[in-house]
């Protein structure tokens, strides 16, 4: 199809400036840039020797949060397992032994090898029970080792609870609307 005349636009290329045509200033500027960078602070991170400088919203190993009484915060609603695009979360719910919720997870297993660390479980969780930490060096000798069960995920919480900057995407432990305590607060308003 030929190009229609109305689609053609003529623009002025613009006159090159006299200084640009002399090139000398451009070359001097170029040398200035390279020489400045020669002595500038380097951005390379020497990983095995020093810890990498990760952004606070880095999505690493999951953790299962505890509430103020040390119990698992999860209410076994399956929202995370439903949201998970990799189907790596396996939950078995059981009647809760505690009066403030109906269910709790009897089994909570995340296949860390299958996980794609997209953070959708964290986004889906109504009670901020599951979070992605900034732990990045996840290793194991067997595949079975990389199936993180409830205890393991809670221990990740114990390890990372003191870290500053964890849980930047969640509400930092404040309970979501599905939680009873939060519900009371809402109705009280």
């Amino acid at each position: 199809m030929p190009i229609a005349q109305y689609e053609i636009k003529w623009v002025r290329r613009g006159r090159p400036k006299l200084m640009e045509l002399l090139y000398v200033s451009a070359i001097a500027e170029g040398f200035g840039t390279t020489i400045r960078h020669l002595f500038e602070r380097k951005v390379t991170q020497q990983y095995p020797e020093s810890e990498p400088n990760l952004p606070p919203h880095y999505r690493g190993v999951h953790r299962l949060n505890r509430d103020d009484q040390g119990r698992v915060k999860c209410v076994a609603c399956y929202l995370c397992a439903t949201a998970c695009p990799a189907h790596c979360i396996d939950i078995v719910a059981a009647p809760s032994p505690w009066p403030d919720r109906e269910k709790y997870p009897e089994v909570f297993v995340i296949d860390e090898l299958r996980c794609i660390y997209c953070g959708m479980c964290e986004e889906a969780c109504p009670v901020d029970a599951i979070e992605l930490t900034t732990l990045y060096d996840l290793t194991g000798y067997t595949r079975e080792e990389m199936l993180f069960d409830k205890e393991k995920l809670l221990s990740v919480f114990d390890r990372t609870v003191e870290f500053p900057g964890e849980g930047v995407r969640t509400q930092r432990g404040r309970l979501g609307p599905a939680s009873k305590a939060a519900h009371k607060e809402d109705s009280g308003d």
Partner: protein, 398 residues
Amino acid sequence: MIYEPVFTLLLIVVLLGLLQLACAYLILLERKMAAWVQDRLGPNRVGPKGLFQPVADGLKFLLKEQVVPGHVDKPAYFVAPAIAVVATTLGFAVVPFAPVAPGEERGLRFIIAPDLDIGILFFVAAGSLAVYAVLLAGWSSNNKYSFLGAIRSSAQLVSYEIPLGLAILGVVFAAGSFSISDMVVQQVRQGWNVLYQPIGFVVFFLSGLAECNRLPFDLPEAEQELVGGYHTEYSGLKFAFFFLGEYTHVISISFLCSLLYLGGWHLPGIGSAVLSGWGEWFLASLILWMKVTLFVLVIMLVRWTLPRFRYDQLMDMAWLGLMPLGLANIVILAVVAYGEVQPGWSGLVSVVFLASVGVGRALWFHLQPEESIRVLTQNDGVKTGVQGNGSSHAHSAV
């Protein structure tokens, strides 16, 4: 007398060893500088600060599999890397890499062939042989990328060899001799050539960059468009030979720049034409080596500063820029010599000439009629499209 050949042989061995070592560490320096300019750290795993990296590189080159593709023309393919090293190293036979030792006239000398009166000619001749390595490598590889690199190299050769020769002619003119040592002695007497023939220096340095295939003139091995250029099909030690040749060339061009234009081992107030003691000799060699290092650093810095010239731009620059400038340099020198005025006039006239040519060229391009270019718009071009045309472009030509 048995002493002479033995000494020469010893000198060759020492110089070859030194050159290889220098090349190995120049490659490390190049990688380090590349990293630093890009805000990285560069190789730092082998030894403290990566200082043993050249050893690792060398071992890797030695132990790697020597892949010889089935489609290459074997004799030329094998001979090319050898030429690359030999041709560039040959030039060092006439380069004085330290001042003449004090005391004995014929005793300790720091040039392999001191009696070669056509020293600089020999150097240029040997250096330009290196292009045969590129040509043969490109031709024998039977690979279109290698071949394109070789073609570019030959085109580059005819472009830069003439300005290079013209620039050297100016130095020969000033010294009245083809021997590099004489040229240094003359500069010690009169003053550095860079002050008397700045045009020659600029022309020589730019053609020198082209001669050793360094950016911005590394067209024969332009990675982005030619894969690896002429050494695409080479691996292992043969590839290392090309590398060695390139860096030897860088060193030799740096040597020549310092010897021909920056007074060699002379620094005002320190070095003198006739060295009286070993301390002075040591100082003078240090000055020479520092000048060479400076040039090597500049050449490496140029690599990370200036973009590569296009093929036709290089030809334009060499034929329409450097060659007339080289001729102008000789004319200025000749007129100043004939007029028997102060030799310092040549420097002044050269600078004024160079500046006026540069400004004139810029003005000429600046005053060209402004061009309009055609752009295609979206379908709403009716509303936004401007059909006006301020230049010689005719609509009908679209």
